[in-house]
């Protein structure tokens, strides 16, 4: 099998991942700067083009791109799926992970536990919901994809003060009940979950690098996998607090997780790719797009336990 690594630059992590793919038996592994690709649609078909590399020749593509590249990544994901090239994301994943408001709605729609939250455009609209919340709250504001504020609110008075002090036009505000508890940060790779506990010290959550390796319950493991899948990812970081999902990100901090777990997660990723990409191209012509979607749904339901 042949694998392609599509990323912004070929850093240390990408080199180690490349090595892991080769050790797993991939006959060819190439790196390609995602910005060098282009998509061309003409005469009833689309091609992913790059000088020198034929993307359609690969069985799998590991994708690591900034969420700012969403307008490029989304049609690319769609096309890779059409070509039968396995990636860790399904189309829509970048839309889901680049908009926290959409992510919250998607997690809730999939029946995943999210803390009581309210989502508005105009901060003044929060007051109608705020009295039914338990404090403290986390208050996040967004202008486009950019998070302009993320603060902890201790009382209704502080909330009133914050909402009144905002002068700029915002695109969304999320207010969520905040769990004053340790944060479990999970690295999800297929059906494997590795977790680090980040302690709540009474005023903030400690940094990931200071966290400790921890074992998650079966329920937490399944919740983490389901959350990643609900956001279109088979490989992701899922943050949880007291059983509630607080965030899903389409990437993993490999250096920290490798250090804390003592495992080589690049190898785990390569193994996951090896099992998922095997035969995908051969089977592709037999599947209609709706069958592929049904298969994806089946996978998600399988993880519901």
């Amino acid at each position: 099998m042949k694998a392609l690594i599509l990323a912004g630059r070929e850093g240390k992590s990408i080199k180690r991942l490349k090595q892991a793919f080769l050790e797993k038996g991939f006959e060819k592994v190439d790196f390609l700067d995602i910005a060098k690709l282009n998509l061309i649609s003409r005469g009833g078909k689309t091609q992913v083009v790059n000088d020198g590399i034929m993307v359609a020749d690969y069985d799998a593509a590991y994708l690591r791109a900034s969420l700012q590249l969403t307008p490029f990544v989304e049609p690319l994901l769609d096309e890779l799926k059409e070509e039968g090239i396995y990636t860790q994301f399904r189309p829509g994943a970048y839309y889901l992970n680049s908009n926290e408001a959409l992510q919250l709605a998607a997690l809730n729609a999939r029946g995943l536990p999210v803390a009581k939250s309210v989502l508005v455009v105009d901060p003044k609209m929060i007051k109608d919901s705020a009295e039914r919340f338990h404090y403290p709250l986390i208050f996040k504001s967004f202008k486009g994809q950019i998070k302009t504020q993320s603060i902890l609110i201790e009382s209704p008075r502080s909330l009133r003060f914050v909402t009144k002090s905002i002068k700029m036009d915002l695109d969304a505000v999320i207010v969520r009940e905040f769990e004053e508890a340790d944060l479990i940060q999970c690295a999800v790779i297929g059906d494997k979950v590795f977790a680090i506990r980040r302690r709540w010290n009474g005023s903030e959550i400690e940094k990931l690098g200071r966290g400790l390796l921890c074992k998650v319950s079966d329920r937490e493991r399944i919740t983490a996998i389901r959350a990643a899948l609900a956001c279109g990812c088979e490989i992701a970081t899922v943050k949880m607090s007291r059983g509630f999902i607080t965030e899903v990100m389409p990437d993993i901090n490999f250096p920290v997780f490798n250090e804390k777990t003592g495992e080589n997660l690049f190898e785990v990723v390569a193994k996951h790719f090896e099992s998922r990409a095997k035969g995908v191209k051969l089977k592709r012509p037999k599947f209609s797009p709706s069958l592929v979607d049904r298969f994806q749904r089946f996978l998600e339901e399988a993880f519901h336990g």
Binding site: Q68, L69, G92, A105, L119, V120, V121
Partner: protein, 294 residues
């Protein structure tokens, strides 16, 4: 007869005149019509349940909800569409269609793969790709810079120097270029309104010296009878994107008709069509509401 209710969620970035006529027409057929500007809507998530609230009413309890959102509403708009998609409320549009139609190239790619005729298009960032596109498409090119979610308007690029200066800006701000071969037509395009299975067609004629046939840029318009080809293309594009209401813009070239874009929240061209489009939209939404109530 069972009562039917209609909620319209409006963009905060557009004039509400279109919505006003939808409300007026809606009141003639529906028992309850509520207009909720998106910046007055709250989504509350509680115990695995979502509520879409406007002035204390849950819009998810309506029979029909028609979100008319612009690309600039995307942060809240995507969440609203996701919540609606999960509910039992009938909506003529959906989240995926919103995401795709707000991305000119993505729309063309989807249609092209489904063998719907399109104008040759590409998405790229690097200067190397630009050279390849230039070689294949030739000049002039219709270029749209994509940043974040929404585009920044279209530019007609007539020479390589112009394209290079756009590329310099694009690289600086992590943006992309969606380029489309410029089709020399009759200084006009065709807009097909799709409302259920009905297609209403107009020809937009651009102002002298203007390459775009937008009415806001001085173009005029006239209603024409849709040909079989126009109907097939428009209905095919709408079906592919899962939309019951939209507008499909076509261009006529030597090779026949081709899609240039699909509009998620088309304006009704009241100046040229009167209330024809809004009436048809409301009639269709009411039919859906009746089916649901029954």
């Amino acid at each position: 007869m069972a009562k039917a209710s209609l909620a319209i969620i409006g963009s905060r970035h557009y004039k509400h005149s279109t919505v006003k006529s939808l409300i007026e027409e809606g009141r003639k057929l529906f028992d309850r019509v509520t207009f909720a500007p998106i910046d007055r809507v709250r989504i509350v998530f509680e115990e695995n349940e979502a509520k879409l609230l406007f002035k204390g009413r849950d819009l998810l309890e309506y029979d029909v909800c028609y979100p008319r959102l612009s690309s600039r509403d995307y942060v809240m708009g995507e969440a609203v569409l996701r919540v609606l998609g999960q509910s039992n409320v009938y909506s003529p549009v959906n989240l995926r269609a919103y995401q795709i139609t707000n991305h000119k190239y993505y729309t063309i790619k989807e249609l092209s793969n489904a063998k719907i005729p399109i104008v040759k298009s590409s998405l790229f960032i690097s200067p190397d790709s630009a050279k390849r596109i230039l070689k294949e498409f030739g000049m002039p090119l219709v270029v749209k810079v994509l940043s974040g979610f929404a585009g920044k308007g279209v530019i007609l690029v007539e020479n390589e120097k112009q394209l290079n200066s756009i590329l310099d800006t694009v690289r600086l701000f992590d943006e992309f270029i969606s380029a489309q071969k410029f089709v020399k037509g009759k200084n006009s395009d065709i807009r097909c309104y799709v409302i259920g299975k009905k297609v209403i067609t107009i020809r937009r004629i651009g102002k002298q010296g203007e390459w775009r046939a937008n009415v806001s840029r001085g173009a005029s318009a006239e209603e024409i009878a849709p040909t079989k080809e126009m109907r097939n293309i428009a209905l095919g594009a709408a079906k592919l994107l899962g939309m019951d209401i939209c507008a499909v813009d076509l261009i006529e070239s030597k090779g026949g008709l081709a899609v240039i874009e699909v509009n998620f929240m088309p304006g009704p061209f009241k100046k040229y069509l009167g209330n024809t489009v809004t009436k048809e939209m409301v009639k269709f939404l009411h039919k859906k509401a009746k089916e649901k109530v029954a």
